[in-house]
Amino acid sequence: MKAFSTLFKTELKLSLRGMDMFIFAICMPIVMIVILGIIFGSKPAFDGAEYTFLEQSFGAVATIAICAGGVMGLPLVVSDYRHKKILKRFKVTPVSPALILAVQVAIYALYSVASLILVYAVATIFFGYQMSGSWLQFLGAYFLVMLSMFSMGLLVGGVAPDIKTASVLASVLYFPMLIFSGATLPYEVMPVALQKVADILPLTQGIKLLKAASLDLPIDSVLLPVIMMIALAVTCIGVSIRFFRWE
């Protein structure tokens, strides 16, 4: 426990010194919600909708930090620490090198939750946002999205042979999901053909869940996304455990 908390404190400081996560996981979602708030204000999502465009987008914007931490931050830090032999160094101490992975996961989870709170605060205070759905369901979906995104990131970081490969793979996952899953560019404004393609992205499914939970929409199509997310997480974790390279 002492090792975990000391490492957590130190790694968090190092991460903040690096600034990237602060920009991509904390600032970017806030900028996004402010832009959506200014442009759409309290306009309805579509003619006759019972909820506003902003309310519809809240769940999506809340995943920007998960996406940044999970498929960009985690793979890079894991492959960097393997390259620097930090993981190997932990093998000759009483604690397992898995501890430093757990610490990194906890740090990115913290960024995500901090971002969720900030986005919610900004949306509520400045743009009159209200969560019409259930917080419990929303948080359940939120942590499910986190689980599947983070396990994808751990897989990429764990099996990529070097930093270069890890960062290419991370970009291939990160940018399409950031742009086409609805996290930034609203899913609803995409042409239908693009929506079909976007549906393949796991984050798109996650965002659908979050929207359903936050808007209190009928739960007809929730099962498929839930199964997809869980299957993805189980697969990624399984493959990571089997093929993780510590050095």
Binding site: K2, S5, T6, L7, L14, K84, K85, K91, V92, V95
Partner: protein, 244 residues
């Protein structure tokens, strides 16, 4: 005397090279053991097989009576390691690295004291990456000593240190040795090996070409000085293979 590190017939090959070939090592408590040989002789691979971070092809290893692969958690409370390559995070400071290292162990020494002894107290808040080569090396020795270990492995501990800094390190290691610390080190400096090591094993292409004390190494060679004897062994091992 109690044997703290015991290695029998250790072998390890990589795809194309036999990096370690039937090496034996036996180190008693309080002894300093030197693993010598040119670059690529197999010193680091031997150490990693002993520590269990690499899996040997054959041979048996025990440290403090334990198997490093099965008893990892228990063993590494009492054994510490300085690898040849640096391993620390970008932007981490000296104090943070020491604090993290300390947190991994049940018992530990006061690292501020250790930093002072190694002349690093004014570097407390500096980033590790900004230290000079010698300062970094001294910091890594401090890190290896933080858990108050019974056995330390130091791979090329003084590479990159200036003459004065090397002397300081010897003095400190001699003190630790007097207190019963067992040390296995690799070094390219023969004066250091002479000053510190009770026993040495000289490797060439993974094979042991001399095993014994520094005095024995000199006596069985045609030279008076250990450095000359060492070079003679590493050049002409064929003649001397039988005398091991």
């Amino acid at each position: 005397m109690e044997t703290t590190i015991k290695v029998n017939q250790l072998s390890k090959s990589y795809a194309t090279v036999k990096a370690v070939d039937n090496v034996d090592i036996s180190v008693c408590r309080g002894e300093v053991f030197g693993l010598l040989g040119a670059n690529g002789a197999g010193k680091s691979t031997t150490i990693e097989c002993i520590l269990g971070t690499k899996k040997q092809d054959s041979g048996r290893v025990s440290i403090l009576g334990m198997n490093p692969r099965n008893d990892r958690k228990k063993l590494f409370e009492r054994v510490s390691v300085q690898f040849q390559e640096a391993n620390y995070q970008d932007k981490i400071t000296v104090a943070e690295l020491c604090e993290v290292t300390k947190s991994l162990y049940k018992t530990s020494l006061d690292y501020e004291d250790l930093l002072k002894q190694f002349g690093l107290s004014d570097k407390f808040k500096s980033q590790v990456s900004e230290l000079s080569g010698g300062q970094k090396q001294r910091l890594f020795i401090v890190l290896a000593l933080i858990p108050d270990p019974e056995v330390v492995f130091l791979d090329e501990l003084t590479t990159g240190l200036d003459a004065k800094a090397r002397r300081d390190v010897w003095k400190y290691l001699s003190d630790l040795k007097a207190k019963g610390l067992t040390i296995l080190l690799t070094s390219h400096f023969m004066d250091e090996v002479e000053a510190l090591c009770d026993k040495i094993n000289i490797l060439k292409n993974g094979k042991s070409i001399f095993y014994g004390t520094v005095q024995e190494a000199v006596a069985t060679s045609p030279y008076e000085k250990f450095e000359d004897a060492y070079l003679w062994y590493t050049d002409e091992e064929e003649k001397e293979n039988e005398s091991i």
